[in-house]
C-alpha cells in the first residue's frame, strides 16, 4: 500500500512539472510491447478469399451494392453507408463476389452475420484513384467523401468518423486531440504506425483540423513509446499548423478518450456526455492516417495494421487486408490458432474469439495467441470482502463493488442508478480485486440486459400507441358509420321537406284561386253602401254579420299562412329537387304525409 502511495506521489510531482493533469485510479499491468516492436510493419499477401461483414462499424448495416458473380476492382464500393450513422465497405482487392450470406464474424457471441465473400483474381487491380483538393471543397462534400470511403474510428470503437468531424454550432470543437497513447498491454499497432508513417498521420490531422476548425491540436502519446514521440515531433515540425506532441504518463487506461482528455486538457467530460460538450474531439492516430489515404490518395479503408503477438514465432505488426481470415494471419506470424483460444483486442478489454476462422475487420487492432505461461489459470473467485480496492483503481470514479453487487443480484435499476453505463470496461477493478472476481463480466451482462429491457420497453410503447390508434380508428369508423346513417335519415327528412314544398305550392295555387274568387266576390258586393237610409244600413250590417258567421272569413288567416309557406317552399323545393330527382315517388308521398 505504501508503495502505491509513493508511486502516486512521484507521479503527481512529475505531472506538476509537465503541466498535465491526471485521472483518478488506473493500474500498471505488465506491458509486453517489446515483442511486437522489433520488426517494421509487414505487408500481407492477398489471400484467395476475403470475407467482409456488412456490420463492421457502429450504426446501420451497410447497403449492398453488388451481387454474386460481379467482378470488382480493388477499392470498389461493395456496400454503401445506410443513413448518417453508418459506413461503407470496399473491396480490398480485385476479384469476383463468390457469395453473399451469413458468415461467422469476430464477435463475442460467435454468431454469424451477413457478409460478402470475395474471391481474389490475383491481379490486385485498383479502381481509378483520385486525390482530392480538400481546401477547394465544401466541408459537407468532404465529409460525404469520408462516409463513402468507410472511415471509422480504428482505435476499436469503429464509430463513423464523418459524424465526429461535423461542425457543431452548439458545441464548437476548440481542441482536437489525437490519441496515440495506446495504453493496453501487448498492442503496438499505433506505435508502429507513428514510427513509420508519422508524416502521413500529420497530413490526416491537418484535414481533421480543417474540418473542425479547432484552435488547439495535440497528439497524446504515452511516454513508453519514445521512438513514436520522436518521429511525431519531427513530422509536426514540418507541418504548417501548430500541433503539440505531448508525452503522457504511462498508466492504464490512459488511452481511454475521456482519460486522455482529462490528462491533456485538465477538463472532465461529465457523466453520460460527449467530449464535444466541453469543446474537445478525440481521434485515434490510425483514423487520422486513413483520412489521409482517403483524401490525398483516393484510397478507401481496405486494410489496417494488426498486432499479432503472444505465442507466435514472428510477433509483430501486419498490414492486413480487411477480410483475411484471422487463423491465416496467425499462421503467417508462425502461430497456431485454436477455436475459443485467441484474444481479439488486448488482455484487459478484449474478448476470446469463439471461432478463429473469422475475418479481420476494422475493429481488429490486435490478436493475441495465448500460452499457458502467459496467462496462467486464475485463482478461483472468492466472495467480495469490500476492500474497495476496485473503487480506488476505477478511472471513472465508480463504485465497482456496488455495481458488482447489483449486477450479481440482477438489480438492474440500481446498477443504472450507480452509472453502470459510465463504465468503460477497462478491467482495472478486475485486475486489482484480491478476490479474483470477474467484475467486468458482470457489468457486461448487466449492461446488455438493461439495453435489451430498454428496447423491449420501446417496442411496448410503440405497440401501445399502435393499439390505441387502432381502437381509436375503430371507434372513429363506428362513429362515421353512425353519422352516415344519421345523414341518410336526415336526407329522407329533407326529401319529405321537398314534398311538403310541392304540397305547399299546390296549396298556394289553391289559395291564389281562393283569393281571386274573393276578389270577384268583393266586386259582386254592392258598392252603393254610402248615403243609404239607416234602415238599409241596419239591413246591410245584419247581412254582413250573417256573412261573417259563414266559413269563408274563417278560412282567411289559414290562406295567408299557406301563402307564406308556399313562398318558402319554392326555395327549398328547388334545391331538394335537384338532389333527388324522383318526382314520381314524391307525388305519392305527400298524400300520405297529408293524411
Amino acid at each position: 500500500m505504501n508503495a502505491i502511495v509513493n508511486i502516486s506521489r512521484l507521479l503527481k510531482d512529475r505531472l506538476a512539472k509537465t503541466g498535465l493533469s491526471r485521472f483518478k485510479g488506473g493500474v500498471h499491468p505488465p506491458q509486453h510491447k517489446l515483442e511486437s516492436t522489433t520488426s517494421p510493419i509487414r505487408s500481407v499477401p492477398v489471400p484467395k478469399y476475403l470475407v467482409l461483414p456488412l456490420r463492421q462499424h457502429v450504426g446501420n448495416v451497410s447497403k449492398l451494392q453488388v451481387a454474386t458473380g460481379d467482378h470488382v476492382l480493388k477499392g470498389q464500393l461493395l456496400a454503401k453507408a445506410d443513413g448518417q450513422v453508418s459506413a461503407a465497405v470496399h473491396a480490398p482487392t480485385s476479384g469476383v463476389i463468390a457469395s453473399i450470406g451469413n458468415q461467422l464474424i469476430p464477435h463475442p457471441s460467435g454468431l454469424p452475420d451477413i457478409s460478402i465473400t470475395l474471391e481474389s483474381d490475383g491481379k490486385d487491380q485498383w479502381i481509378e484513384r483520385q486525390a482530392l483538393d480538400y481546401l477547394a471543397m465544401s466541408k459537407p462534400e468532404l465529409l460525404d467523401h469520408l462516409r463513402e470511403a468507410g472511415v471509422v474510428g480504428l482505435g476499436g470503437a469503429t464509430f463513423p468518423s464523418h459524424i465526429k468531424l461535423r461542425e457543431d454550432t452548439r458545441h464548437p470543437v476548440r481542441t482536437l486531440i489525437i490519441n496515440g497513447a495506446e495504453c493496453e498491454p501487448y498492442i503496438t499497432c499505433d506505435d508502429m504506425l507513428m514510427r513509420e508513417r508519422a508524416d502521413e498521420i500529420v497530413r490526416g490531422i491537418e484535414i481533421m483540423r480543417y474540418l473542425l476548425d479547432a484552435e488547439v491540436c495535440a497528439i497524446g502519446i504515452e511516454d513508453n513509446k519514445p521512438e513514436a514521440i520522436r518521429a511525431m515531433r519531427e513530422a509536426v515540425a514540418k507541418s504548417e499548423i501548430a500541433i503539440n506532441v505531448i508525452a503522457v504518463p504511462t498508466i492504464y487506461p490512459g488511452g481511454g478518450a475521456k482519460q486522455l482528455i482529462k490528462v491533456i486538457t485538465g477538463k472532465e467530460v461529465p457523466s453520460g456526455r460527449l467530449p464535444t460538450e466541453i469543446g474537445v474531439q478525440c481521434f485515434n492516430v490510425a483514423t487520422a492516417y486513413s483520412v489521409h489515404r482517403v483524401v490525398n490518395h483516393g484510397e478507401p479503408v481496405i486494410s489496417r495494421v494488426v498486432t499479432v503477438t503472444g505465442n507466435v514465432a514472428h510477433a509483430g505488426n501486419y498490414e492486413a487486408p480487411l477480410g483475411i481470415s484471422i487463423s491465416e494471419l496467425v499462421q503467417l506470424a508462425g502461430g497456431q490458432a485454436e477455436d475459443g483460444d485467441l484474444i481479439m483486442g488486448g488482455p484487459m478489454m478484449g474478448f476470446n474469439l469463439p471461432a478463429v476462422d473469422v475475418p479481420v475487420v476494422k475493429a481488429t487492432n490486435c490478436i493475441i495467441v495465448p500460452s499457458a505461461e502467459m496467462f496462467p489459470d486464475p485463482e478461483p473467485a472468492l466472495p467480495c470482502i469490500r476492500c474497495t480496492r476496485c473503487a480506488d483503481a476505477c478511472p471513472v470514479n465508480l463504485q465497482p463493488q456496488e455495481l458488482y453487487w447489483f449486477s450479481k443480484s440482477q438489480n438492474l435499476e440500481k446498477a443504472r442508478e450507480y452509472d453502470i453505463f459510465d463504465c468503460i470496461e477497462c478491467g482495472c477493478c478486475t485486475y486489482v480485486c484480491p478476490s479474483n472476481i470477474p467484475l467486468v463480466q458482470y457489468y457486461r451482462y448487466a449492461k446488455s440486459e438493461i439495453i435489451a429491457q430498454d428496447r423491449a420497453k420501446e417496442a411496448a410503447d410503440i405497440a401501445r400507441e399502435r393499439n390505441e390508434f387502432r381502437l381509436m380508428r375503430i371507434e372513429r369508423e363506428k362513429q362515421e358509420r353512425a353519422q352516415k346513417h344519421a345523414q341518410k335519415a336526415a336526407g329522407a327528412k329533407a326529401e319529405t321537406g321537398a314534398d311538403n314544398a310541392v304540397e305547399a305550392a299546390k296549396k298556394a295555387a289553391i289559395a291564389a284561386a281562393v283569393e281571386r274568387a274573393k276578389a270577384q266576390k268583393a266586386e259582386v258586393v254592392a258598392k252603393n253602401t254610402e248615403a243609404v237610409s239607416p234602415r238599409v244600413e241596419a239591413e246591410i250590417a245584419k247581412i254582413e254579420a250573417r256573412r261573417a258567421q259563414q266559413p269563408e272569413p274563417l278560412r282567411q288567416p289559414e290562406q295567408a299562412q299557406l301563402f307564406a309557406e308556399s313562398q318558402e317552399a319554392e326555395v327549398t323545393s328547388a334545391s331538394s329537387q335537384v338532389e333527388s330527382l324522383q318526382p314520381l315517388s314524391k307525388d305519392k308521398q305527400p298524400t300520405e304525409e297529408a293524411k
Partner: protein, 191 residues
C-alpha cells in the same frame, strides 16, 4: 389580534384559490395507477390474460378484479414488477393462462395467402399490410407476436417464427463460475 385573524383568513383564501386553480389546471387525466400498471405490461395485446388487451387487464388489476400473474408474455419479471408496484406478494405465473414463449413474429406465406383480410381485422397493432384479394404481409418490426392472426386465417398460411439471436440483439450471459477456468476471467467471452 384582529390583524392576525385577517392575515390568517387572507392566507387561507389565497391558498384555497391557488389549490383550487391547480386542481383544475393540473388535473390528471385517467387513473394514474392503471397507467402505471399498463406501463409494466408487455403490450403484446394477446388476450391470454383473459382480457381483450393489456389496458383492460391493467384496469382489472387496478380494480382488484384480476390477479397479477395472468400475463405469460410479461413472464416472471413482469409479475415481480407488478408485485413491487402494488406492494403485494409475488406469485408464480398462473399456468392456466399459458406459458411464456420466446418472442416470435408472424410470417405470412405469401404464395398461399388468398387476401381475405381476416388477419388484418385480428391484428391488434395494425402490423399486417394488404388489401382485399391481394397478398398480405406482416411488418415484422411492428408485430408483437400475439398470435391472434394465426387462428382466423382460413388457409393456415400464417406461422409464428421465433426471433433468432444475432450479433445485433445478442446479450452477454450471466457469469457462471467455472470450477477450473482456463484463462484469466476478464477475457472470457461468455462463461
Amino acid at each position: 389580534m384582529l390583524t392576525a385573524l385577517y392575515v390568517m383568513i387572507g392566507l387561507a383564501l389565497l391558498l384555497g384559490i391557488v389549490l383550487g386553480y391547480s386542481a383544475l389546471k393540473f388535473k390528471v387525466e385517467g387513473d394514474p395507477l392503471i397507467a402505471r400498471i399498463d406501463a409494466i405490461l408487455p403490450q403484446t395485446q394477446c388476450g391470454q390474460c383473459g382480457y381483450p388487451g393489456c389496458k383492460p387487464y391493467a384496469t382489472a388489476i387496478a380494480k382488484g378484479e384480476a390477479d397479477i400473474n395472468q400475463c405469460p408474455p410479461g413472464g416472471d419479471a413482469g409479475v415481480h414488477a407488478l408485485a413491487d408496484l402494488l406492494g403485494v406478494e409475488y406469485k408464480p405465473l398462473n399456468a392456466e393462462h399459458g406459458e411464456p414463449k420466446p418472442k416470435s413474429v408472424a410470417v405470412i406465406d405469401e404464395n398461399v395467402c388468398i387476401g381475405c383480410t381476416l388477419c388484418i381485422q385480428a391484428c391488434p397493432v395494425d402490423a399486417i399490410l394488404g388489401a382485399a384479394k391481394h397478398m398480405h404481409t406482416v411488418i415484422a418490426s411492428e408485430c408483437t407476436g400475439c398470435e391472434l392472426c394465426v387462428a382466423p386465417c382460413p388457409v393456415d398460411c400464417i406461422s409464428m417464427e421465433p426471433i433468432a439471436e444475432s450479433p445485433a440483439n445478442w446479450k452477454w450471459r450471466y457469469p457462471v463460475f467455472e470450477i477450473k477456468p482456463e484463462r484469466p476471467v476478464q477475457k472470457k467471452s461468455a462463461a
